[in-house]
Structures are given as structure tokens and as C-alpha cells.
Symmetry: C2
């Protein structure tokens, strides 16, 4: 069985989204500054069909982030399409070929038939909670890892439930001052840094999490 | 002229002291967990007259922290002795021979004569603000660095004033959940990570700060 992992970019003052988030701007004001580090990397550009880019530590990390993942779990806000019953026309933010290429389990209160997209991404909508989504994702992933894709409240729920094995933070040297915090109401998990590398743009720290519950 | 630096241990969720701080317990509940990484190091033990200890990255950092510092600045709470007029018997938390071995400028609203201690530490009490304290510390330090020793509110004031050149964070893998934050009301300084190293106990990231004001 694979691990349950999560990787997320976070400001030095602990925010994973800026203030004034909305359905149209779920990342909040200034939130895109948290992701600037990845776009110039060779790895990101290659993953999105573009040539060139910068090699180095950040590109190696961008490669690492997509390796060995057999399924993703994400919250409704990250998938988009409002907060009420589904508009069947909404197929996520990513166009016809989303960058997941695996089964993706979307947490929602509103049932919907699965959606198969180009490139192997298949969205399944889970209405019976985070434990059920994790169980389904584990089966889909086989011996590969299950990645909690976000957003922040979904990560917090899995962290608080004590089922995350690894948390990989990309600590971006910006101070947002306000927004959505990641590490709030998550209890007191036992964390151990197992990797720390960085560039002038970002510092990557991977934490192993001792399991609180089995 | 040397740099103006600050090094401080901080929880992964951004606290530099735990909740329920008091004059008797300025570090707050659980706050001592932020400092556990340094006590077993060879460097710390040697600095405090003890033998043995653990070598490695954390000990090297503990060495680095005391190198090249010509003067310190600290807030009244860090020096201790209550918050009102001085009890002349109070000479800080550190006994007869404090670990600074340089001039130390203490920010306070209450005048007091300087205090010369064993081992070269001399406490000067500054009542006319952080700019004056920095000016006096720069003169005392000569071409060595001035270190802002703490506490958090003193660091925040110097950071917000745009006069810090380096911020060296020891990010401890604990989640305190509450307490005193470091990076709040400090504006939007331009930070660049210039070093990232770590052990299973802590990750050290040194940031260079672009000057906002001269």
C-alpha cells in the first residue's frame, strides 16, 4: 500500500491562499505569488507541453511531485463549479485534459456521475465523507501513493484525522499578511523533517508524520 | 559596518512563544519545545561550560549564531524584571555571567544606570526608542554585526522598520496551535532564502532582506 501524501505551497507567514477568496478567485489576493516558483521550471513546462525552462532544485522537486501518485483527492472548491448542485457543463478548471492522469476523487455534498477526461484523468464525486474518499482512492492507487491535492480545508481535515503520512511544504519567502492558514485546527501531529532543499525562490521541506490513528 | 541580524526559533505554524505568556513564563505554554533542538548540541554545551553533546548540522548552526556579533538589542520582557520602574536587584535571567559577552542594549520606558556583568556583558538601558538603540548598538559593534535578540515584538518592530539585513529562522516541526506570532504586522519585506539546512529536529533557513528604507 502506498503513502498518503500532500504537497502545498505556503507563505512564510503560513498562508496557502491570500485574503478575499471567492468562487472566481479561490486563491485569494496575492495567492498566485505562492506558485511563481514552479512555472519557470523545466519540469513544469515539460508537464504542460512546453520546452525550455530552468533546471535545478526547484525543477527536480517539480518532477518529484508527480512521481508515484496513483490517485488524488480534492475538495469541491478546488474542483470549482460553485457550491450548490452541479452544473453538468462544469468539468473543472483544467480544460479537456487535466494534469492528473489518474483517478481523482472530489469531495462534495452533491451527487454527480463520474467524468472521464482526456489523458486518463477520471473524476469521481464522493458524497459520504473523507474516509470513504480515502478508501476509494487507496483502492484506485493500488501500491502507488494517494495525494491530497487541496484545497487547504481538505488538507486540514486529513491532517487532523491523522491519516497523512507525508506533508511536503514549499515555503515561499513572501509575507501575505492575511488569507487562509493551513496549519490551524489540525491538532498536534508528530512531524519529522526528512528533506530540506531550496533555491532563492522557495524552500522545500518534506515532513514524515507519525500516525495518530491507524 | 556589520549587518543587523536576527535568529529565532519558530514553530511550523508560526509561533515564537506558546499561549498564556506571563512575566514568570515569558515563553508561554509549550514554548520551550521550540528550543529543545539546541540543548543537546556540542556547541551549546561548550558555550555553557559543559562537555560532550551531539555534533552535526544543528551544532554547526549553534556555532554560527554567536559568531561575529558585536552587540545585542533586546526588549524589556526578554531582560525581565517586570514592566514598571526597575528593581535594581534584577540583573536579567542569566545570573552573574550572561551568555552575551558584548554590549547589550535593553529597550525600556524606565531609565536605569548601565550594568556591567562578568564575562564582558554590559547592559545599557535605552529609553528613546528602537532607532536610538540601533545607533548605539552599531557604534558598540564596530564592524561586527548587531543581533536583535528578541523577544518577538522587538523583532517585529525592527523588521517593520526595514532595518534588518538577515532573518535566520529555526523552523521546529511542532504545531503549537496558539501563542505569539513573529510575522504579523511586519509589512511585506522582500526576503530571499540564502541557506537551508536541517536535521530531524529542526530546519534552519537564513533569509537576506532587501532594505525597504536606508
Amino acid at each position: 500500500m502506498g503513502k498518503v501524501t500532500c504537497q502545498i505551497s505556503i507563505s512564510l507567514d503560513g498562508f496557502v491562499a491570500g485574503p478575499n477568496q471567492s468562487l472566481e478567485n479561490p486563491i485569494g489576493e496575492g495567492g498566485m505569488r505562492l506558485h511563481d516558483w514552479i512555472f519557470p521550471t523545466t519540469s513544469w513546462r515539460r508537464q504542460h507541453g512546453e520546452k525550455g525552462g530552468a533546471d535545478g532544485v526547484d525543477s527536480e522537486v517539480a518532477d518529484e511531485l508527480v512521481r508515484g501518485i496513483g490517485a488524488y483527492i480534492m475538495g469541491r472548491k478546488m474542483f470549482g463549479g460553485g457550491s450548490g448542485p452541479w452544473d453538468e457543463e462544469w468539468k473543472g478548471w483544467w480544460g479537456d485534459e487535466p494534469p492528473y492522469h489518474t483517478p481523482v476523487f472530489v469531495l462534495t455534498h452533491h451527487p454527480r456521475q463520474p467524468l472521464s477526461m482526456k489523458g486518463g484523468t477520471r473524476f469521481t464525486f464522493v458524497t459520504d465523507g473523507i474516509a470513504s474518499a480515502l478508501e476509494q482512492a487507496r483502492v484506485a492507487a493500488g501500491d502507488q501513493d494517494v495525494a491530497i491535492a487541496g484545497g487547504a480545508s481538505t488538507v486540514r481535515q486529513y491532517l487532523a484525522a491523522g491519516v497523512l503520512d507525508e506533508l511536503y511544504l514549499h515555503i515561499v519567502p513572501v509575507i501575505l499578511g492575511a488569507g487562509e492558514r493551513l496549519l490551524e485546527d489540525v491538532g498536534d501531529p508528530v512531524l519529522e523533517p526528512i528533506k530540506a532543499v531550496g533555491s532563492p525562490a522557495v524552500t522545500h521541506i518534506k515532513y514524515r508524520i507519525a500516525k495518530n490513528v491507524s
